[in-house]
């Protein structure tokens, strides 16, 4: 490879770059994020830590995919750019967390002989895991529907994840702490964006108000799961690694109490979607919506696992 005389031609420069044989569907190489290779904090169960990284990664990965579905469909170009930017922020969080989970051993069982190229852990976990191994809360996978529902969804999601990441900055795990510190300003910006739109829609026309309220009602049954403490989380809270979701309710309630009245919207009273035999998204028990998300996200990579470009 000769990079010397390629300055004048961007295509030559691309060809000269170290891209030969790159996997076609994802990152295709292990990002050398230096924090990812840190050992698990002393006394912490490595399996638990890997599972917790998957939980937080999948919350972001699946939500990011849902938001990216707005590409070419958003009501205005500006909102399309906004939703894609937010999806990208979440994807960035997911990638580091998936790499961390992989470094802790979570990717090995999903590697298959059909993948000839040496895939990065984050790619294996994103593309070759079935739905029952995804650990995201079901709110992340729910259909975003129209823009009103997306707005209501985003206020709840960003308020909850911001409250979580704010506390996670103090985690004993250096990767979780670093991801959280990076995520806080991004999520706070997303929450302001969602709150701003909910105000405009809720306190807008009769139609926009009705659709914002209907969106909030649709999202509501998935909210209760956000505050349930999974046994893995409980063990890691004790070790100073994780955040207890039960502690996040007050923050989310406070944001909703501020935004909903100002938007002339009413806090819904719909019952929560129940767990199945005590198991929910954190255990890999999902709504049928996740299957559709993964069908779109994974099918091409699974059909052509050896494709490179």
């Amino acid at each position: 490879m000769n990079a010397v005389d390629t300055e004048d031609n961007v295509y030559d420069a691309l060809a000269a770059a170290d891209h030969d044989g790159r996997w076609a569907h994802g990152a295709g190489f292990d990002e050398t994020v230096v924090e990812v290779t840190a050992p698990a904090p002393e006394g912490v169960d490595v399996g638990d830590l890997a599972t917790y990284c998957l939980m937080l990664a999948d919350d972001a990965l699946v939500a990011s995919h849902r938001l990216s579905e707005w590409a070419t469909h958003a009501p205005e170009l500006e909102e399309e750019v906004a939703l894609a930017n937010i999806a990208l922020d979440l994807l960035g969080q997911a990638r580091v967390l998936l790499s961390r989970a992989g470094h802790l051993g979570a990717a090995a069982r999903f590697r298959t002989p059909t993948t000839a190229t040496q895939l990065a852990d984050e790619d294996v976990l994103a593309y070759f895991r079935d739905d029952r191994f995804f650990r995201n809360v079901t709110l992340a996978e729910t259909d975003l529907g129209d823009f009103g529902r997306t707005t209501a969804w985003m206020l709840v999601y960003s308020s909850w994840r911001l409250a979580l990441m704010t506390r996670l900055r103090g985690s004993a795990d250096p990767v979780l702490a670093a991801v959280a510190a990076k995520a806080v300003p991004e999520l706070s910006y997303q929450r302001e964006y969602a709150a701003g739109w909910l105000l405009r829609l809720g306190d807008g026309t009769e139609l926009s108000h009705a659709r914002a309220q209907a969106g909030l009602e649709d999202v509501w049954p998935f909210v209760e799961e956000l505050f349930l403490t999974h046994p893995v989380e409980a063990r890691l809270v004790a070790a100073g690694v994780a955040v207890d979701p039960a502690a996040l309710r007050a923050d989310v309630d406070s944001d909703l109490a501020q935004v909903l009245p100002a938007a002339t919207l009413t806090r819904p009273e719909r019952p929560a979607v129940g767990l199945v035999g005590g198991r929910g998204g954190r255990d890999g028990v999902h709504t049928e919506a996740l299957g559709r998300v993964l069908a779109v996200m994974q099918s091409l990579a699974r059909a052509h696992p050896d494709a490179t470009w």
Partner: protein, 170 residues
């Protein structure tokens, strides 16, 4: 053996590489170049940090760094990414702010030390005034909170009516 940050040689080559999305800024101006190590065996390790966690420009930065260092005779180059401490717009140098304004992009305000507590939600429009990079008027408004790159928003000047990009304060 590692010789620490080799300023004056390898560092300068890496520092002059420009940002793929904001080519008026070098990686050093942007404040994303965290370290350059020159090893005795001729290998070089460059450490950069992303502006936003999902910034797609990071990969282009990595390729550009390798290409420019290869031109300077360094063929064994590893580019690492670090997340900590997280980049904020306060890492942008004064020189970088000047170059942004010159190119018609309003530079971010200095935010200062971040609170470690909960981030309050404000429903009112942000009080910070962003001056128009073309006519200097402080009478500007947000067109879109998200712009063409991860780190910019779109604004318009009410005085001269020109739209412009603003590097978000984060």
């Amino acid at each position: 053996m590692v010789s620490a940050v080799a300023r004056g040689s390898v560092w300068d080559v890496a520092a002059e590489v420009t940002d793929p999305e904001m080519p008026m800024l070098t990686l050093a101006d942007l404040g994303v170049l965290r370290g350059v190590e020159a090893h005795d065996d001729g290998s070089v390790v460059v450490t950069i940090t992303p502006t936003y966690a999902g910034c797609p420009a990071l990969e282009a930065m990595r390729d550009d760094l390798r290409a420019r260092l290869a031109e300077a005779g360094h063929h064994d180059v590893e580019v690492r990414t670090t997340l900590s401490p997280p980049w904020t717009t306060d890492f942008l140098t004064d020189e970088g702010r000047r170059k942004l304004a010159e190119a018609g992009v309003a530079p971010p305000a200095h935010v200062g030390p971040r609170s470690i507590g909960p981030v309050p939600l404000t429903l009112a429009p942000p009080a910070a005034r962003v001056a128009c990079p073309r006519c200097g008027s402080a009478d500007t408004e947000v067109l879109s909170r998200f712009g063409p790159t991860a780190c910019t928003a779109l604004r318009r000047c009410r005085a001269c009516r020109e739209p412009f990009e603003h590097m978000k304060d984060i």
